[in-house]
């Protein structure tokens, strides 16, 4: 399967990863190679096979709805790119 510029732009948006104009051809070629690898899967007959999401047949563990974590806001925000008054700063979204 061969991807073109339109598909790469679509995937770039899906993944929220900028692909610069001069990188599009290389990205398209390399992603196409990977999709060729995926195409090998189609040879297998899987009509009677149930999908397997996880290696362990486990039931999700539940816990009592109690607060167990200490508030570590200052420590956790110390690694943020931009914080003010305990709020994460991002570019303005709403005028």
């Amino acid at each position: 399967m061969s991807l073109g510029k339109t598909e790469v732009e679509y995937i770039s948006r899906l993944a929220a990863i900028e692909v610069k104009a001069d990188e599009v051809d290389e990205v398209a070629a390399k992603l196409s190679n990977i999709l060729d690898l995926f195409a090998q899967m189609q040879a297998a007959d899987t009509d009677q096979v149930a999908p397997m999401a996880h290696p362990l047949d486990q039931v999700q563990r539940l816990r009592v709805d109690e607060i167990t974590e200490q508030n570590q806001r200052d420590k956790l925000q110390s690694v943020a790119p931009a914080v003010e008054d305990h709020l994460y700063l991002v570019p303005q979204v709403i005028e």
Binding site: I11, I34, F38, Q77
Partner: protein, 486 residues
């Protein structure tokens, strides 16, 4: 001191013949001497290591020391370490000081194991060569022209060169076993869920599993005892009594049934690697084991299945790197979308971006059934192959990788060929089974070869004992590159 086994180190520490301060300083000196060339450490933490060593020595005086107290360890830079940079070898996390410890890190801290530093790896654990690191490639101690394997390549290299007695690794598609094979050390990937994933930077959550990387199987058993166990903070952590992985070291291999999958010795396997692996199996037969042919017919479907599923999970896991709460943020973003796109475009390396993009694509409308669902069905077929094979054998043996270590640069332009080199390790991750790589010899090019032993769920102790018994009659695991011996 770096030639001692963990058991010998522990005995000497407990007898007061050496101190943890001396042992830790010895390794720090070796790191200072050798690591500039190898580039196996991303961060070295000498002050922390010496402080922890002093605390360990206090425990020997107080009589509260445990088996591994005072023995230093290196952590793969994927494990969060409180107060220490945790980069995952990515520009994205180059400025990230972890605010908490991974479960494994806190377990080993509790035991009193000084932290020497953080080891280099493929960026976000996505690779088989450790070349995709933001900090440059690690060299293979056996041959500086070769890669150490990946993604736990730095961890494997520090063990092989004697720059740490023990190291933590993670294995999502072979990232403990393949570098262990390429560097001539012992590495085990436990059953999925055996070791907590809490605080390990997530790549593909239904595959990721941490394990020990050491010189010998005996060392690995001791280290796994310290690493494993239930952790309520990991929702996939196995809630069961922790086995003693060292308890069966010493059991005889008489009567052991070894399955030999014909598919693992077919086309594409380097004949020299094949000979070495078959010789290792013959050695194990001499110890009383017998071989039976088994079949893993869907082996070739494992690689494409994995490279759909793991990137799909990665595309979700790595969406947290958005330039808001931690990690890299681009300069002067024009708006929120621009900030996301450029922070991720500039912060991630090429291979990580490829996997996120291909994963997002596989999950997108119109392709979900053809790629993601199909891959999940193949995952079950691969797992069922193992279930059937284990009806007629106790363990399966074969090669870890189809060749010895690649040259640096050899695979960097052809990622699909790199993906295909994981064909023997990936099926084990798809199934969630435990697998070990033990050193089995050297090819004519001087590069090590590993023997791959795979067992049913929860058979770690058995795998470690088979490795240990093999290491009682061979000395491949004791070999060290000449320049690192002194």
């Amino acid at each position: 001191m770096h030639n001692l086994t963990i058991k010998q180190m522990s005995e000497k520490l407990h007898a007061g013949e050496i101190t943890s301060v001396q042992l830790t300083q010895h390794y720090l000196d070796r790191i200072a001497k050798f690591d500039a060339e190898l580039n196996a450490y991303v961060t070295v933490t000498p002050e922390l290591a010496m402080q922890m060593a002093q605390e360990a020595d206090e425990r020997f005086k107080a009589g509260t020391a445990e088996l591994l107290t005072g023995i230093p360890v290196a952590h793969k830079d994927i494990f969060c370490t409180d107060g220490i940079k945790t980069s995952c070898s990515s520009k994205m996390l180059d400025n990230f000081i972890a605010p908490y410890d991974a479960h494994v890190v806190s377990q080993l801290k509790k035991v009193g194991m000084p932290i020497l530093g953080k080891t280099n790896m493929d960026e976000f654990a996505m690779g088989s060569t450790s070349e995709s690191s933001y900090y440059g490639p690690t060299k293979n101690p056996w041959d500086h022209k070769a890669v150490p394997g990946g993604s736990s390549g730095g961890a494997a290299a520090v063990i092989a060169a004697g720059l740490a007695p023990m190291a933590t690794g993670t294995d999502t598609g072979g990232s403990i076993r393949q570098p262990a094979a390429f560097c001539g050390i012992t590495g085990i990937k436990p059953t999925y869920g055996m070791v907590s994933r809490f605080g390990i930077v997530a790549y593909a959550s239904s595959f990721d599993q941490a394990g020990p990387m050491t010189r010998s199987a005996e060392d690995a058993a001791w280290m796994l005892n310290a690493m494993a166990g239930f952790d309520e903070r990991d929702s996939t952590s196995l809630q069961q009594e922790k086995p003693d992985f060292a308890a069966s070291l010493g059991e005889s291999l008489v009567g052991l049934k070894v399955g030999i999958p014909a598919e693992y010795f077919g086309e594409g396997l380097d004949p020299e690697v094949e000979t070495i692996v078959k010789n290792a199996i013959a050695e194990i037969e001499k110890l009383g084991a017998s071989t039976v042919p088994v079949s893993l017919p869907n082996k070739d479907l494992a690689v494409p299945s994995y490279y759909v599923l793991a990137p799909a999970e990665a595309s979700s896991n790595l969406s947290r790197f958005d330039g808001v709460r931690f990690g890299y943020r681009c300069e002067n973003p024009t708006d929120l979308q621009d900030m996301y796109q450029r922070s991720r475009g500039e912060g991630f390396g090429a291979e990580v971006k490829r996997r996120i993009m291909v994963g997002a694509y596989a999950l997108s409308a119109g392709f979900y059934d053809a790629y993601y669902l199909k891959a999940q069905k193949l995952r079950r077929m691969v797992r069922d192959d193992f279930t059937k094979a284990f009806e007629s054998c106790d363990v399966i043996m074969g090669p870890v990788a189809p060749s010895t270590a690649f040259n640096i640069g050899e695979k960097s332009d052809d990622q699909v060929s790199m993906y295909l080199s994981d064909l023997y390790t990936i099926p084990v991750n798809l199934a969630g089974l435990p697998g070990i790589s033990v050193p089995a010899g050297f090819a004519d090019n001087g590069r090590p070869v590993g023997l791959h032993i795979v067992g049913p769920y929860f058979s770690e102790a058995k795998l470690l004992n088979i490795g240990h018994q093999y290491q009682q009659v061979t000395d491949w695991h004791k070999q060290m590159p000449e320049q690192y011996q002194g």
